[in-house]
């Protein structure tokens, strides 16, 4: 009887889920499939002759060939470097702060306020932050003037230097995100069974031992989550590098801070068939690389033993 009843109501459950799936298929799945499809339409221009062919032309010419000048791989390299430069310090500092804020022995006062302030940059519009930092580091920007007075930088300032732009962009990302990661890790540490720490303390374990033997291993699922979501977000990095320095100064013929999403936008905006195929093929490269990186992280941080939680 009950079984029949729940099946009878089941059709409502199905109906309630329909809008979500309908919109998902139209605005997310179809675009993804279409992007794949479009990446296979290669438009060649030979003088006035425009020929369209279906196949791997875009990949042959723009991704692996000479037509794109390898720009996609350079942009991919820059994107990954930017992500690593911000993520490694970010996760280390967040772990340290999370360990401090949850430490029972050395209780810090006011850690609620620290969290509020450290998270604050994350909520502010990235576009605004990028232009703000651009203003601070411009040739007459306040931070450049300070650096100049100490002789840390020449009279042209930071922005014409590729490496300086890269480091500043990575710093902005770090600065925007470490508060978020720290709060997530704090919540993770507080979710660990306190009796484990009590037992460890009875056995005379030091804070360091507790951190490496209890906290870190049990934090693995959350570290995995942080790593994977940060990689997906980081590889799609656009606002900060685009608005901070418009792709950066050209060093050795290459824009020094142009990310993959900036390239994709550039060719999508132009909008000709030729450029759309090119943008689509770059999108597919980014999609595949993102999937591979997430899967690798997922595998290497996979928790085999699942006790203590």
């Amino acid at each position: 009887m009950t079984k029949k009843k729940s099946v009878e109501h089941g059709k409502y459950g199905f109906m309630f889920a329909v809008p979500f799936f309908l919109i998902f298929f139209i605005f997310q799945l179809y675009p993804l499939i279409y992007t794949f499809y479009n990446s296979l339409i290669y438009t060649a221009k030979n003088g006035r002759n425009i020929t369209e062919s279906f196949g791997l032309g875009n990949f042959k010419n723009y991704v692996f060939g000479n037509l794109g000048g390898g720009e996609i791989w350079k942009a991919l390299g820059i994107t990954i470097v930017l992500w690593i430069l911000n993520f490694i310090p970010q996760i280390l500092l967040s772990l340290l702060l999370a360990a401090w804020f949850t430490d029972i022995k050395y209780k810090l006062k006011g850690n609620g306020i620290y969290k509020v302030i450290m998270y604050m940059p994350n909520i502010i519009t990235a576009a605004t932050i990028a232009v703000l930092f651009y203003s601070l580091f411009d040739i007459n920007g306040p931070l450049t003037l300070i650096a100049k007075s100490f002789g840390w930088v020449g009279k042209d300032g930071f922005l014409y230097k590729g490496w300086a732009s890269l480091i500043i962009i990575a710093f902005i990302q770090f600065w925007m995100w470490y508060g978020n990661t720290m709060i997530v890790l704090c919540a993770g540490i507080m979710g660990i069974n306190p009796s484990l720490y009590e037992a460890a303390m009875v056995d005379g374990a030091t804070s360091k031992q507790q951190f490496f033997k209890i906290t870190l291993p049990l934090l693995k699922p959350i570290l995995q989550y942080t790593l994977v979501t940060s990689a997906i977000g980081g590889l799609q990095m656009y606002d900060i590098p685009a608005l901070f320095n418009d792709g950066g100064p050209v060093v050795n013929g290459v824009n020094s801070t142009t990310t993959v999403m900036m390239l994709i936008k550039k060719y999508t905006t132009v909008g000709s068939a030729q450029n759309l195929g090119r943008a689509a093929s770059y999108s597919i490269v980014l999609f595949v690389v993102t999937m591979i990186i997430s899967l690798v992280f997922y595998k290497i941080t996979q928790d085999k033993t699942n006790d203590g939680r």
């Binding site: 729940s6 109501h9 089941g10 409502y12 459950g13 199905f14 109906m15 309630f16 889920a17 979500f20 799936f21 919109i23 998902f24 605005f27 997310q28 993804l32 279409y34 992007t35 479009n38 702060l97 401090w100 050395y106 810090l108 850690n111 609620g112 509020v116 302030i117 450290m118 998270y119 604050m120 909520i123 502010i124 519009t125 576009a127 605004t128 932050i129 232009v131 703000l132 651009y134 203003s135 601070l136 306040p142 003037l145 508060g179 709060i183 704090c186 919540a187 959350i222 799609q236 656009y238 936008k265 999508t268 759309l276 943008a279 689509a280 999108s283 597919i284 980014l286 999609f287 997430s294």
Partner: protein, 286 residues
Amino acid sequence: MDQEVKGYSTVKLVRYIVCILLCFISIFPFFILIINSTLPSSKIVTGIKLLPGSNFMTNFKNLIEAGNKTSGVNVMQAMWHSLLITVPATILQIYFGSLTAYAVTAYKFKGRNFMWGFIYAIMMIPTQVSVVGFIKVCNLTHLYGTYWPLIIPAIAAPTTVYFMKQYMETGLSLEIIEAARIDGSKEFYTFNKIVLPLLKPAMATQAIFGFVASWNNLYIPSLVLGTERKEMTMPMFVAALKANDKERDWGQIYCGLFVTVLPLLVMYFILSKYIIAGVALGGVKE
């Protein structure tokens, strides 16, 4: 013992110093932003000032005039446009997010587990890489250049569904639904009148994050509204602010940034408790 007390206080001191330093770094750029928005450009380019000036209203006036002149959109209009997109998008996101989560939590039907697994899996798909296809859809549906492609997709937000489902599993008893059913309440009515009010705390959290994400979005709007500069949103305005002139009026730029930051900062300090709690909840996804 004495030594241990000494060590204890040194450790604490170091930790306090690091935390205060980090807080300073978080606040400092905003501090300069606020100060510089009150100064004339000629003063800004001479170095850091610690005291505000009296030029804010002039900067603001210049900002509005420059906006009207160059693109026909000033900062207040741009923020209004963002609001026109963000408010309906947020409402759709939490309403349909809740409805979908309710469907896969409270009902048993064929394909339910598949649906749930599907929603879980698509959370990990990077969404912005498919812009070429997204523009295609906008063209096919004749929605290119309008706000609709920025609003409607909010109906399918997998992270919201995930969050609402987690909440329902602990915070929603199925007996209440059963009782409503016995009283003759229709299923859709039960959801709207009985279930939704119970989800208020979770909806509030999702509303904040949905609102902020939509409000701050630059990439998709700048592609979808690309040629329609009159429809410019706030982040697009900020991007244009920088590109404006060769002879930059810094007072005007800082003032524009300040105006775009202010509503977010006010909202943040009012709701920070819930926001921090929401960030923590979002991470504990095991």
